[in-house]
């Protein structure tokens, strides 16, 4: 549902918000997959994905603000 907004959103900032929510949902999904498959390494994957998503959102916000 967030992906629909990501495709449809009227402005670039809408897409950025949807991307942020998608990455948070993806982190929760990775942790759940780690529990389902009993793989410890997926936790590291979720942590790295959280860091990279945060940096990406900050960069996109600075770009929208035309201050980059």
């Amino acid at each position: 549902m967030s992906f629909v907004r990501f495709v449809k959103g009227p402005t670039a900032a809408d897409r950025a918000i949807a991307l942020d929510t998608l990455s948070v949902i993806g982190i929760a999904g990775l942790v759940l997959l780690a529990f389902l498959f009993q793989r410890y390494i997926y936790i590291d994957l979720a942590l790295v994905y959280a860091v990279l998503g945060f940096i990406g959102i900050i960069v996109i916000a600075r770009y929208i603000e035309k201050a980059l």
């Binding site: 549902m1 907004r5 929510t21 780690a34 936790i43 959280a50 916000a61």
Partner: protein, 130 residues
């Protein structure tokens, strides 16, 4: 020890259920809200609480992993409000205004004052922003 494990498993399942409900509500808010700022509000708060709850639930079900999961929880709790603040500020400054008619707008005066001082004090900074 077995009873404790059972209790922890059920509490963890409850947290995971609660968190997935909140994540669903956040995505619904992203889809249904009429305005960028409403979308930001709904999406960020609900999805932060939902993701923290899901990760805490998995940590209760699998106590060996709890330390790294706590690191993820703290990181989500710090980074998600920061990114939503950066997005709101950027979208206000790039000229997207709220959907409803505004009564109080304190940030507009701040932005105007900043613009004025940038124009009067050093005119060279007009082409380069920030």
């Amino acid at each position: 020890m077995d009873t404790l494990n059972n209790i922890l498993t059920y509490v963890g399942l409850g947290f995971v259920l609660l968190g997935s409900i909140f994540l669903f509500l956040g995505a619904l808010g992203i889809y249904r809200m009429p305005d960028l700022y409403n979308r930001l509000q709904a999406g960020t708060k609900a999805s932060t609480l939902g993701a923290m709850s899901v990760v805490l639930g998995v940590g209760l079900m699998q106590p060996d992993w709890l330390i790294k999961l706590l690191v993820i929880i703290i990181f989500i709790g710090v980074s998600n409000p920061l990114s939503s603040h950066a997005l709101a500020r950027a979208s206000y400054r790039s000229g997207i205004f709220p959907f409803f008619k505004k009564k109080i707008d304190a940030y507009e005066a701040e932005v105007e004052k900043e613009k004025m001082s940038a124009e009067t004090h050093d005119p060279a900074s007009k082409c380069g922003n920030k």
